[in-house]
């Protein structure tokens, strides 16, 4: 008799599960605290995907900060490798850390990169009352006394935010990397707060992270690491103009678990393409200081292979890895 009851309950539950799973929402993991670049990627792309009808249910965003994205990467590789309903925000920082073997031995080929649909220009900023008026002021101060300037960024030491500083200093002829002081915080917002409070002297980050504070006038952006000035922020000089030839943009993109099928992969690529072509995304890019940068699917995977090799070489050159 109990068996019969169980069977009936089972049948009922089976139907409801079948019904529910069709409307199951996908998840986007932002491997940082809310407010940072990865968080923006998940929220904006996730929202647009739903708004333009590329997915049936709203995409649920999970924040998983830690280890410069390594926590989320390890989770995807180890525990969610076959999950077709999972996308993860990625950026240049992800590639950098993979190139430096900083995800505890995990490698770039353990997930599949979907594509990038925008790039966030790298910046160096200081508090509004800082004595440093230009990038060269700041670099001269580091050259004179490396201990006098601490940089804060939203990624761990050796991460992309850190590398930008080291590259800029390297171009200016300062190569004593061990002397450069850098603290990694749990996101761009925290880093800016520390700079405004005067605990650190400069912030290295991305344009999207400073827009709010730029508007309120609490910080001053010394340089943007792009080839040309960023539309909408025309009064901010590039590093190139100031004689520091560094271009460092932080592309915004996604990766998915390795274990999903080719079809599932292509479905996500198409969804991302729709977002990239949407008006909503173009608006979002403008309001967040992103420059256009679209590479999808296999093109992106090829591009990334090259980037990772380059960063690995660069990291060896500047002594970040052996």
């Amino acid at each position: 008799m109990v068996n019969g009851i169980i069977k009936r309950i089972a049948l009922g539950a089976a139907f409801s599960v079948a019904l529910a799973s069709s409307a199951l929402s996908a998840e986007c993991i932002a491997p940082a605290n809310p407010g940072g670049g990865w968080d923006f990627t998940c929220r904006t792309i996730g929202k647009i995907m739903y708004d333009i009808g590329a997915v049936d249910a709203p995409i649920q965003v999970t924040n998983m900060a830690g280890g410069g994205g390594g926590l989320a990467y390890a989770l995807v590789v180890n525990e969610r490798n076959n999950d077709p309903d999972l996308i993860v925000a990625a950026s240049s920082a992800t590639a950098t850390r993979l190139a430096q073997n900083a995800y505890g031995g995990l490698t770039a080929d353990q997930v599949r990169f979907l594509g990038a649909i925008g790039a966030d220009p790298g910046i160096i900023a200081v508090a509004k009352d800082s004595p440093y008026k230009s990038l060269n002021d700041l670099i001269d101060a580091v050259k004179a006394d490396p201990g006098s300037v601490t940089f804060a960024g939203g990624s761990a030491a050796g991460g992309f935010d850190h590398l930008k500083v080291l590259m800029a200093l390297g171009r200016a002829g300062f190569n004593d990397i061990k002397a450069v002081k850098y603290v990694g915080l749990d996101g761009g917002g925290d880093a800016i707060t520390q700079a405004i409070g005067g605990h650190v002297q400069a912030v290295t980050g991305d344009m999207s992270e400073v827009v709010g504070f730029l508007k309120s006038g609490d910080i001053r952006v010394l340089a943007v690491f792009t080839n040309d000035r960023v539309p909408g922020f025309d009064d901010i000089p590039t590093a190139k103009e100031q004689g520091i030839d560094v271009v460092a943009v932080n592309w915004r993109g996604l990766y998915v678990p390795k274990g999903i099928t080719e079809d599932q992969y292509n479905t996500w690529v198409e969804r991302l393409r729709k977002v990239a072509e949407s008006d909503e995304w173009h608006e979002a890019m403008v309001s967040h200081g992103l420059a256009p940068f679209t590479l999808l699917g296999h093109d992106f995977e090829t591009y990334l292979d090259g980037v990772i090799k380059e960063v690995a070489q660069l990291s060896r050159d500047i002594g970040v890895i052996q």
Binding site: V2, I6, A13, A157
Partner: protein
């Protein structure tokens, strides 16, 4: 005596902890404290406190009988089995079995225990899945 044994165990674990902390990779950059200092401090503090406990133990607690320990051990086994069963077999069946067994341990009456198991399993599934929207699977995915 129990306190002293516990103190000894803490010392052994803390020493092992400090030993494994010596293996932590250090960084290449400006990081005066480094990733090892804190684990050392924690291990060291634990050892000092453990010595204090060994020297000045509290009164002996009332340990349960072996029979009771056996019962608790059985409950642990049920929970461990449940932990392993959730993924392959879905929510409903393992929950019914585990809840039923626990219930039986607390109040040995087969009928009420099995009803508790089934009731909890189905009821909780409905609440978690539909009221709170958690991503649970009722049954093994391979069954369909």
């Amino acid at each position: 005596m129990s306190d002293r044994l516990f103190g000894l165990a803490v010392i052994v674990v803390a020493l092992g902890y400090i030993l494994s902390a010596t293996q932590i990779q250090t960084s290449f950059l400006s990081d005066p404290v480094g990733p090892k200092t804190f684990p050392y401090l924690i291990g060291g503090t634990a050892i000092i406190c453990a010595l204090a406990i060994i020297l000045k133990p509290d009164a002996e607690p009332d340990w349960p009988s072996l029979w009771t320990f056996g019962k608790i051990g059985l409950a642990v086994l049920v929970l461990v089995a449940y932990a392993y069963a959730l993924k392959p077999f879905g929510f409903v069946v393992p929950t019914a079995v585990a809840a039923g067994l626990l219930s039986y341990q607390i109040h040995p009456a087969a009928k009420s225990a099995s009803l508790t198991g089934i009731g909890l399993s189905v009821g909780l599934f409905v609440i978690f899945k539909y009221a709170l929207g958690l991503g649970l699977f009722a049954f093994s995915r391979s069954w369909f």
